[in-house]
């Protein structure tokens, strides 16, 4: 609380970025965890979590006040206009401090107290069970088992406590191998593909330098290779560019020498490092944020950002591994440097391609929990949860989620979840609203008592699953089954407007096929129920039941209208600026410069008339484009009171 210099400012303007002339006037509140803007007239509320704030900027003063630009990690950009300079400064300083959390305990998830008792909270944390997930895959079995070697995180403090290794790998081999790997991250099972018994294993780079060897590490790889009886060799995939891997040799790290390991095929897949990716995304964000760019500027910016090139390289790596495992039946060991960024991306992406389960809602949750959370992807570092070295930040999971989105574009029926699910996960990785993604490893989370002190995201998403379902998904559809074989030709990759321009309502299709189909499916379900009732009635018509029936019939009337009325169509429909502002550039030079012709001042404001239009044109028009743009999705929780 001590950081809030000014809890409330009146007569603040919230600019609409799609039009300079549409602004809401209201009151701005600063609380411990949120910035809240309440519109004076329509009582629209905008809630922004401080933890989502990326940076705050004071812009040069205008005639109406002092502008403040707030950029969020979810690509929302908020422009406020504050009447007084002092107030603006106070808000600025407060927000700077509030958005820079210094200690984990200050994060929102530690104060977020939904009305759930202790037992329920514990149950919620048990919503996903990794042991059950490994069982589902088919381990333990005769060749693979769980090892207790890392129970107290003694061998590797960034790995989970429960790990799966070949039965033939003895304890000394595992420990020896871990000593020969960066951060002790020895080769361990990521995914077991039942059909071919081939596996995806993951590790960090070996400490091979220019010539070092480690017998145990060599035995470890041999054990993995031999645990796939159908194959006489295995792939070792180094996801780094060869040059980077070679540079690492000078510091005593590096990559496997094919001569020292029996029957490995070594392969580089050049995915760039976190710094390159961070800069690339920065450029992409700048492109998506250009004010009315020309097509040339946009495409050129997209090209020079290199973003889609990186997405393509990650998807290509995932595809290579999935092919090796499914088609060749060959096991793969994947690593990069530390084995927690590129390795994680590629292993989880290959799993999505291989296993239809990971294309279901629950499956994707489990996959993230397993490959990302439990295997020590450094969430708090990468997504800047607390003030840290900015060079640690990088859009690693962004790229994974985007690869999944690109796959959804190629295989529209193969995924149970929709784009909104990916965006929701993305938001929560940054929001620090739930405890799942706090800290950098399982050990850290245990030490901090995340399970006891915070809540889990997954049951919350599961509860809202109707919003996240892809209406085209059918469990028995041919596209749903088996291994996905995506194309990686350049033209298959698209700019992800849904994420990067998520809050620019005007840029999205004005009617949504997804929403229409969801509404139709919902209605279909109701119809099925009514049909059953009618059939039962007809089968054994007791005539006295006619009255009862009559009620049912009238109950149906409402949903019958659904098909006819375009209520499920979102028509946020008003014209854009089609003439560089010349046509609708404000009352001054409206139309002909001399204002006499268009004398009615109310009519001259074409833009506001436009906004009006969208309101009465369709009920959907006035509603927010998504759960998180206007109101915090959980604002029904009394989070506000904690402030």
């Amino acid at each position: 609380m001590e950081h809030i210099r000014l809890p409330k400012v009146e007569r603040v303007q919230l600019a609409d970025r799609s039009s300079s002339r549409r602004a809401q006037v209201g009151t701005l509140y600063l609380t411990a965890f949120h910035t809240i803007f309440v519109d004076n007239e329509v009582h629209n509320e905008l809630w922004v979590l401080h933890s989502l704030v990326c940076n705050v900027e004071k812009l040069s003063i205008t005639s109406c006040g002092y502008p403040l630009l707030i950029r969020c990690k979810n690509f929302q950009v908020i422009q406020l206009l504050i009447p007084k300079e002092n107030d603006c400064n106070d808000v600025f300083v407060s927000l700077l401090r509030l958005s820079r959390t210094e200690r984990y305990e200050e994060l929102y998830c530690f104060s977020f107290m939904p009305n759930v008792d202790k037992a329920a909270r514990g149950q919620a944390w048990d919503f996903l069970n990794l042991k059950a997930e490994y069982n589902r895959m088919g381990v333990s079995n005769k060749l693979w088992h769980t090892t207790s070697v890392n129970r107290e995180y003694r061998v590797c403090d960034t790995y989970p406590a429960d790990l799966y290794v070949p039965k033939s790998a003895s304890l000394p081999v595992i420990v020896g191998s871990s000593r020969f790997r960066s951060k002790g991250r020895f080769p361990t099972l990521s995914y077991y593909y039942r059909e071919t018994q081939a596996v995806i294993c993951r590790s960090s780079q070996p400490l091979s330098g220019f010539s070092a060897r480690c017998l145990e590490d060599e035995q470890m790889l041999e054990a993995i290779m031999k645990s796939n009886p159908g194959s006489r060799f295995m792939y070792v995939v180094d996801t780094r560019p060869k040059l980077n891997a070679m540079a690492n040799r000078a510091t005593g790290k590096g990559y496997e020498n094919e001569d020292n390991y029996t029957n490995i095929k070594f392969q580089f897949i050049g995915i760039e490092n976190i710094h390159v990716m961070r800069n690339s995304q920065q450029k992409l964000i700048e492109v998506s944020d250009l004010p009315s760019p020309s097509m040339g500027e946009f495409l050129l910016g997209l090209e020079t950002s290199d973003w889609l090139k990186h997405i393509k390289s990650i998807l290509a790596a995932g595809t290579f591994i999935a092919k090796a495992v499914a088609e060749e039946g060959v096991s793969v060991l994947v690593h990069c440097s530390d084995g927690w960024d590129r390795t994680t991306q590629v292993c989880s992406l290959a799993s999505v391609l291989l296993d239809p389960f990971y294309r279901t809602l629950k499956g994707l949750m489990v996959l993230i929990e397993k490959d990302w959370v439990s295997f020590g992807h450094k969430f708090s570092h990468r997504y800047g949860h607390v003030v840290e070295e900015p060079k640690e930040a990088s859009p690693v999971i962004d790229q994974f989620l985007e690869c999944v989105w690109q796959l959804m574009e190629q295989f529209p029926c193969a995924f149970e979840y929709n784009e909104r699910f990916l965006i929701s996960i993305y938001n929560h990785v940054h929001s620090c609203h739930y405890g799942n993604f706090i800290c950098n490893s399982e050990k850290e989370r245990k030490d901090l008592g995340i399970r006891e002190k915070t809540h889990s995201l997954w049951p919350h998403l599961w509860k809202n699953k109707v919003d996240f379902v892809n209406p085209l998904f059918r469990a028995d559809h041919s596209q749903t089954k088996g291994v996905l074989q995506p194309l990686t030709t350049p033209y298959c990759f698209k700019f992800w407007r849904g994420l990067y321009n998520h809050f620019d309502r005007g840029l999205h299709p004005r009617q949504s096929v997804l929403d229409s189909l969801m509404a139709i499916k919902e209605e279909t379900q109701q119809l099925e129920e009514v049909l059953t009732i009618y059939q039962q009635k007809l089968a054994g018509v007791g005539r006295e039941q006619a009255n009862d029936l009559f009620v049912k019939k009238h109950g149906m009337k409402n949903s019958q209208g659904l098909w006819a009325e375009p209520t499920h169509i979102r028509l946020a429909n008003s014209p854009q600026d089609y003439n560089g502002g010349n046509l609708v550039s404000g009352p001054k030079d409206f139309l002909f410069g001399d204002t006499s012709e268009s004398s009615d001042p109310d009519n001259s404001d074409q833009e506001s008339e436009g906004a009006d239009f969208s309101c009465h044109s369709c009920s959907g028009g006035a509603s927010p484009p998504s759960e998180d743009s206007v109101k915090d999705p959980d604002s029904d929780d009394p989070a506000f009171n904690n402030a």
Partner: protein, 549 residues
């Protein structure tokens, strides 16, 4: 001329055909006057029937005595024929080249085609100007149908009947015509029921360097404005291009002479630049280098998406003037037969819900493109692969379709037709068995007696069994004006045309089928529920009857 003269080798056995997504077929190649046919002995379904008119370019290669002809089609497909025997191959190649570039319209396939179906509703009589005018008359009496051009002498590219302001007599029209490029004096394109504003179209005024003016032209244009109202002239060219036109006798309206109008210049490119764009984007899509940089830079350099954005933006602007500013609009470029029509027709799709139905869209194409004198035959003579020196080819109509597709993507429930319908129109403008897109003007079509000698595309499309494929299952009439986004993020590459032959659409087609299935199942259930409800209601009344007496 006999086609036989051009066909030295009418038939070759043992030809192997390679085409996208289908297994290679070995069979017999036959050439007829209008078709290249390949049929395999085993299976009739493996047949290929390709109109010579659809062939844009061919390449031949020889390895020993095995010849290969690569056939590049106007619908952008590329197929390969392996022909044993050098002489046969050369003969075939020569014949294809000659038959695919016949200059005489009357030798085109539509004059020879006999439909295998019964024409129930003749497409030639579906969209008559008189009918359209009757509808206009029911809304307003400010306009009249003029026969001034009935022998096509005032304006050779206009139809016989044009709609003009009631107060302007035919003499004035004749004079105004002399002041406009190609005689294309301002005529009515669209009447906006909601507020009575109109879209007019014309060609550039012939002001020249001396600043000529024409009282009748000024009077004609002003007659379209209601008292106290003003309007916009949308010149589809940049001010620089319009200035240059003066030197060649063209020009633009001086505001001093048209004080009630404000001029806006946009930047829709000339036809030869559009054609270059098409060639480049098709080349980009066919580039197999697998490099993301190369793809994006080629996509950008093609400028195709920029053309789409500019055309759509101009159309939106015109619609905005009408619907939001309450001002009438006059649209023209240079000749008034290309960019002008893109703008006026797209504006109508934005403004007028009827244009988003199958019939309404056909009427729009008939009215704003065919009757309005878009020279289809010249523009669509060659497509993206032709090595010939370009004459007046340009993808003007394809760009219009692309823009419609963009709006369809943004308002997927507001159109009665689907993407297949647009792709089908694209195909038929370049090569067709139907006569609809033959000729360059209404006058020429009359002279060619197309309506007597050929079948209309609409006669075929509107048969229920064909139409079914082109209907959008999500369609719900939307009576509103639809404002598309023209931001680069919102405009997509039209994969259905440009990537159609490059990647399999199996998964996307399955998704479409799934969507259809979901909707059909819903409708089926509604029918079932309704019928059961009726049955139950009958039981109810039976129940009630004995009680009433």
């Amino acid at each position: 001329m006999e086609f036989a003269e051009l066909i030295k080798t009418p038939r070759v056995d043992g030809v192997v055909l390679h085409r996208p997504f289908l297994p290679t077929v070995e069979g017999t190649l036959c050439l007829t006057g209008h078709h290249l046919i390949l049929s395999s002995r085993q299976d009739n379904t493996e047949e290929l029937w390709l109109l010579h008119a659809n062939i844009d370019a061919i390449e031949k290669r020889f390895i020993g005595s095995l010849g290969t002809i690569i056939v590049k089609c106007k619908d952008l497909r590329i197929i390969q024929l392996d022909i044993p025997g050098m002489e046969e191959c050369l003969n075939i190649a020569n014949s294809i080249e000659a038959l695919s570039t016949l200059d005489s319209v009357s030798l085109m396939y539509p004059f020879f085609y006999r439909p295998m179906f019964e024409v129930i509703e003749d497409g030639w009589n579906l969209f008559l100007p008189e009918e359209a005018f009757k509808e206009l008359e029911s809304m307003t009496d400010e306009w009249r149908l003029s026969e001034v051009n009935k022998d096509f002498s005032i304006c050779p590219s206009y139809p016989a009947l044009v709609t003009v302001p009631k107060d302007i007599d035919d003499d004035s029209l004749c004079k105004a015509a002399t002041f406009r490029h190609g005689g294309r004096f301002p005529v009515l394109s669209y009447y906006h029921k909601k507020n009575g504003m109109v879209i007019m179209r014309a060609s550039q005024p012939l002001t020249g360097t001396s600043g000529r003016r024409c009282k009748e032209d000024e009077k004609l244009i002003n007659a379209t404005l209601r008292a106290g109202k003003r309007g916009y002239i949308i010149d589809t060219r940049t001010i620089a291009v319009a200035q240059q036109a003066k030197a060649r006798g063209g020009g633009f309206e001086q505001e001093a002479n048209y004080p009630q109008w404000r001029r806006i210049h946009k930047a829709i490119e000339r036809t030869n630049i559009l054609q270059e764009s098409l060639i480049k984007i098709v080349e980009a899509c066919n580039d197999h280098s697998n490099s993301m940089d190369r793809w994006l830079s080629k996509l950008e350099a093609s400028n195709w998406q920029s053309q789409v954005k500019e055309i759509l933006t101009t159309a939106c602007l015109a619609a905005q003037c009408i619907d939001r500013e309450g001002a009438s609009v006059l649209v023209h470029g240079t000749e008034g037969t290309d960019s002008t029509l893109q703008v006026t027709s797209l504006a109508q799709i934005i403004l007028e819900p009827a244009c988003r139905t199958v019939r309404g869209f056909q009427a729009l194409v008939e009215r704003e493109w065919l009757q309005a004198g878009h020279p289809f035959q010249q523009r669509c003579a060659q497509s993206a692969y032709s090595n010939e020196k370009l004459r007046s080819e340009a993808p003007v109509f394809l760009l219009f379709l692309d823009c419609v597709w963009q709006i369809l993507r943004q308002f997927p429930c507001s159109f009665q037709f689907n993407e297949h319908f647009l792709v089908m129109l694209f195909e038929h403008t370049y090569a067709s068995q139907f006569g609809t897109f033959l000729g360059t003007t209404a006058a020429e079509r009359v002279k060619l007696k197309l309506s007597q000698k050929t079948v209309s595309l609409w006669s075929w499309v509107n048969r229920p069994q064909e139409l079914e494929r082109f209907l959008n299952p999500l369609y719900e009439p939307n009576s509103l004006v639809i404002w598309p986004s023209v931001a680069p993020q919102s405009l997509l590459l039209w994969e259905g045309v440009f990537l159609r032959w490059n990647r399999s659409t199996k998964c996307l087609d399955e998704a479409y089928e799934e969507m259809v299935h979901i909707i059909e199942y819903n409708k089926e259930l509604q029918l079932k529920v309704n019928s059961l409800r009726r049955q139950l209601a009958e039981l109810e009344t039976e129940d009630a009857l004995p009680q009433t007496p």
